[in-house]
Assembly symmetry: C2
Homo-oligomer: 340 residues x 2
Amino acid sequence: MNPLVEQLLSGSRRAVARLLTMVENEREGVDEALAALFPHTGRAWVIGITGAPGTGKSSLVNALAKALRREGRTVGIIAVDPTSPFTGGAILGDRIRMRDLSGDTGVFIRSMATRGSLGGLARTTRDAIRVLDAAGFDVVLVETVGAGQSEVDIVRTAQTTVVVEAPGLGDDVQAIKAGILEIADVLVVNKADRPGADNTVRALRAMLELGHPVSRRRVIAHHGQLIEAAAPDSQAEPEALWVPPIVKTAATDETGFDELLAALERHYQHLRNGEAAAALERQRIEIELHDRLRQTLLGRLLASVSSDEIARVIERVQARQLDPQQAVQTILAIATSQES
Amino acid sequence: MNPLVEQLLSGSRRAVARLLTMVENEREGVDEALAALFPHTGRAWVIGITGAPGTGKSSLVNALAKALRREGRTVGIIAVDPTSPFTGGAILGDRIRMRDLSGDTGVFIRSMATRGSLGGLARTTRDAIRVLDAAGFDVVLVETVGAGQSEVDIVRTAQTTVVVEAPGLGDDVQAIKAGILEIADVLVVNKADRPGADNTVRALRAMLELGHPVSRRRVIAHHGQLIEAAAPDSQAEPEALWVPPIVKTAATDETGFDELLAALERHYQHLRNGEAAAALERQRIEIELHDRLRQTLLGRLLASVSSDEIARVIERVQARQLDPQQAVQTILAIATSQES
């Protein structure tokens, strides 16, 4: 077996760090290592934390990790940073705040760059979660800056999704809520020591009551690409209805975190009752297989058509001689003629 | 020819509205209509406007449209709203602000829901731009809420990308800037009548100076999926270096918009000098063809493998008997055996 994988499975924190670096930089050998780790995954509780800028997600993750540690659970943290795809490094200074966790071997923190690519973030996050999962962390917290594709990716990788709000962030942010409310299993009004916190709670409650109750599985199917290809029976039995609780926290003085833990725990139990957790995992796997199939199939196709031929088709599209769908058919026809 | 397409090409605003609705709801017949429109596209100047929540993007788009109208140009506006994928409707009340443009037949405004799907937004936006382009609008403004996948999609569809900032939005938003600075052709500090505007300008300038000068074509290649498949020569000659100007505006009293227009115009001329604009379009087409090929190939594959067989593979992954890459190989082997 891969020595790095062996070291990770026997508890080496350094092996965790090295494997995460391999995942992040898509180093050679990472696929083999992940394949070797895969049988050891599936045990961690993955909690996604998302929310608009300014809601204090990072401090909340910090305080939540401490609360989980007090219960004796080990915690892996993946903080997806909105960094530059070119300069590479994380810009957020707020990782420094996490220093007070760093003496504790029961916590592992990794900031990751988003790198901007569509599939890239989802894939890297998914693989990083698997590394921490296989390494035996009880809970994996995944933090992203919300308001975009990132929270959809969280839903696709997390079992429990926390959406963080804060009082007084203005109308534009209110509007975003509409989109992310539906992925929330637990809603947090952070910075609850600020004026207006109760108004925010009321507004969220009103929005929740307005919205239709939606099964989590439908949300995932909706956000996944090519949902029309999903087996119809995979949406058959929606799990029992879960109404997202709203919890007020103040990460600065760590109030509200017992309540938050209790709410998260209730959601975890809810998932484990009945078939919900297994059904969710099936759906996640299906989405992942579709992603991988898409990439593999395109890779094969492009390997069988020369880049000159592709360039000529692109030129004809540019000259408006072909529309994009005709161009696709043309490329597929070239590939078929090569094969025969 | 499709009567709706004919009406659109002869200037009917009602036909524009109906075609956009078809695009948005993926109605039957939309692909044929878009194919018929395609030869009439490629003339509009597409400007993407993005930025974090609270920067006042919508008011800015409003004022920019008015400034373009004063120059005699017709303007189509696509506002991508962060709506709920379930309730469907747009939540943002601020479309109401655009009412003062609505008496003018030289302006066409459409709000579109994001619908949350990975490929969905990119595709819908791209098609909506084509409708407005074929309808003869000189400029198409595409507004999205930033900080996620959406601004990447803008880069992929717009010729000129405007990133909007505002004074005093806090550290979290500052961090986001790092990611979106690199897609900006023009930077706007909106709400410049607020205290701290000059600080924001200085901070942006410092970040620009810190960052490496990056050719726009590299950015697109980087953000595109499967960049490794791009022809190596497509990255060969980066266009002459463009340094994003920083413009201060106040959308409320419309100051700074002459400067903004001038900056946009300079970028447009810059694109037209040399091969930059054509190279950009080639790269956009390549990305689109890859997207479409991926979907088409997966659709074909799934049509040749029964959903029962897929479900069995998923179960084996769930039981950790197969890792995801082995599962992909298994599905491909099933498909191959079906064919022979």
